[in-house]
Symmetry: C2
Subunit: 439 residues, 2 copies
């Protein structure tokens, strides 16, 4: 049986999981790949630490097990790039440094397959990596970069080939979903729920990218490229996080039979792409409302086969590693056959404020008669049809109430709010909270 | 671009959908397949009727559009089998006749790829078809045979290749799930719910295979072969349908926070397979309890990546056809690379009565003191630990109550019931209902 040699760059949480699986089930992998898959080298700055979690053999580490300086590590990486006996490199270093980008590019140009879990790099600086893979007839595998264990990349590439994808949406960040779920189920406010998530290991010490929608937007950018063949600019993608969601918002959602979820959404419209990462009120009839905790769920809506939901673990060492290994098997098995994919077209994003959506707008006002009339009149004057006005709540000197609109643009909603502020200065005691509704 | 020629045998619900998709999006398919996919011939007894739903061009039909006798259709099929310009045959005739089995075998032996949605044939008589595909180096594609649109076959084959499957379960029959859902949500009894399902188009005039678990068992047999490389005998698989589920059972389930679902379950145990199709009480914490209506859901539990759920439409013309077309694209793209798969090992099934499971047993007895003691004593005497005894209900002269056990075997439960019948003849007014509980 032909050999297929693999090197791992960066042996942290994911990389060490990849090494473990490659060493644990070599026979199964060889049968599936139709080649003998050998893990031949690992580069990591701290081999002792890397090897400890899964008891990896220390002699696989370049340098024989001693800690490496950055210069030493770079030299070993150069050796791997120029080693023609290595067929595939796993990049599990992470980050978007120019140095790493250059390493990834040179791996591809050296004629080696590259498998990565690095969603930030692919979303922010992925274009020339994808081009280099095409030009050099090698596979750039990235199953692990979107939702850890959920096999959504190969599903779109290899399974939805008898259909056309209309729309993709989902819950792509487990940390946010864990926080929103505990806010909803345990009545916690955001800071407490975040602290709990950190203590439970579901949020990092610096949770910024999870909380502000950046991580979810990385994944959505990658899915848009694959599903629509559309090259969009990650930095122009509308992203909003969950840090502004209050206990009151959750209470309103509960009363309306909704859950608040951080939703990623993308759809092709007239040759452009509408896409956003945004907290939304999800109606209980929508399957996404049932996905709780750190779980991820990707929804794909197809022209012929309708809606599909893929639910699984979006993170974790062995979970994400299993996706990396599936890419290794795929590259080994199919090699050149797996490479050529449609060319990406550069694609403009539709300005988020111009899309028609139903909205829930929550107002906090003084508690006196006449206000509902004033507010709804302003909304009507912007040609927004109102579905329901409801859930009045009186909290000391404030009255909270929410208006559910028929589909309209965010720009219309903002103009209505501006009109209220102009006509009755001081009436709105807080900035109104505007959340799209997902039916 | 190289051509890849396809013929369709049987142009009913699924076959006509396949033709439509092939004719509707030829450019997309060619890019994905890296070959020009041409639909060259269709054989059907009634071309006029076949062509009408999707406006298919009548000149694609053998015989030029006129209705065919069986002899004429057989002759056209022979022509296709011996036509070396045809690369792939789609079999969407259905049924398990020896004639059709022979046709499928000869398609494979002629060196053509074969794509089929025929779950009954694959489950009941599939072994030599799989062998013939291997021996003749052609692909036997069957994505459409399990849960219509859900891409579970390629997911197991191509995506879970970096992992080991421990367990598969799911709701694999949409008709049963639709009936159970309406029983639960609308309080209907079984005959009324079945009638509604027939009127709504979710159950056929003869619903036998959907109701008795046979259809679900076909799918489970195919999944077991693929996931565990294990060849089991379909006819020995334990299957039970939903026709014995009463309104009272549903009420009990509701009170216990459970849903009754027709569950397919399979697990490898000590080189054997435990598998069953059986109505179960599914706890509300289990995701399968949330899958309602005609929807299908496959759960795969992996060693490294944990539990995955795949939710989608399990039937329908274009839904199932999209899976057939994805197999055509796969065969065209990967050809020989896609063929060789691990050899199947013949595998024994574990006797269902010997497996440890928690059970819910519902007793209908006379309404008088002392009965709970008698029943629970008999259960204890079989070394069954009781979890809870609850939900006493009094209905004219009958008392209904249910006992939830800790994991035990069905054989133990049956012995306990035999002991009750022996000690107190006439006490049990109905045969106790025994349902496993899925946590």
């Amino acid at each position: 049986m032909e050999s297929f040699n693999v090197a791992i760059l960066g042996c942290g949480t994911v990389g060490s999981g990849v090494a473990k699986i490659l060493l644990d089930i070599p026979e199964e992998l060889s049968i599936r790949a139709n080649k003998k898959i050998n893990l031949v080298k690992i580069v990591d700055l701290y081999p002792g630490k890397s090897a400890s979690t899964y008891n990896l053999p220390i002699d696989l580490f370049c340098g024989g097990g001693k800690d490496l300086t950055r210069e030493e590590a770079s030299r070993y990486i150069e050796e791997i790039i120029t080693d023609s006996s290595i067929n595939l490199v796993v990049e599990t270093i992470g980050g978007t440094s120019d140095y790493l980008h250059d390493v990834m590019l040179r791996v591809l140009k050296s004629g080696k397959h590259l498998v990565t879990a690095n969603k930030a790099m692919l979303a922010e600086k992925g274009n020339d990596l994808f081009s280099a893979a095409q030009q050099n007839n090698v596979l750039l595998g990235y199953e692990a970069s979107v939702c850890g264990a959920i096999p959504i990349i190969k599903t779109i590439r290899e399974s939805f080939t008898g259909d056309k994808i209309i729309e993709i949406s989902g819950i792509l960040n487990g940390t946010s979903n864990y926080i929103l779920s505990t806010m909803q189920n345990e009545g916690l406010d955001f800071p407490t729920a975040l602290k709990n998530a950190q203590e439970a290991g579901y949020a990092e010490a610096d949770p910024t990218l999870d909380i502000n929608g950046g991580d979810a937007a990385h994944k959505l950018t990658i899915l848009i490229r694959l599903a629509f063949g559309a090259n969009i600019d990650y930095f122009s993608l509308h992203k909003e996080g969950i840090d502004q969601i209050s206990k009151e918002d959750i209470d309103f959602a509960n009363e309306m039979g909704c859950s608040i979820k951080l939703i990623c959404y993308a759809r092709q419209m007239n040759g452009k792409i509408f896409a956003a990462v945004k907290p939304m009120m999800v109606k209980s009839e929508n399957f996404l409302s049932k996905v709780n905790g750190a779980t991820n769920c990707v929804q794909v809506n197809n022209l012929y086969s309708g809606k599909h939901y893929f639910v699984g673990k979006g993170a974790g060492s062995l979970e994400t590693a299993s996706s990396v290994v599936s890419d290794i098997v795929f590259a080994a098995r199919y090699e050149q056959k797996a490479i050529s994919m449609p060319e990406l077209k550069n694609c403009e994003l539709i300005e988020a404020g111009s899309i028609m959506l139903p909205y829930n707008i929550t107002f906090a006002t003084e508690d006196r008669p006449g206000i509902t009339g004033l507010v709804t009149t302003a909304i009507g004057s912007q040609n927004i049809n109102i579905d329901t006005v409801s859930h009045n709540r009186h909290n000391k000197e404030k009255a909270y109430f929410s208006v559910v609109t028929m589909p309209c643009t965010l720009n219309q909603v903002k103009q209505a709010i501006a009109e209220i502020k102009q006509k009755a200065p001081g009436l709105l005691l807080e900035e109104p909270k505007i959340l799209p509704i997902l039916y």
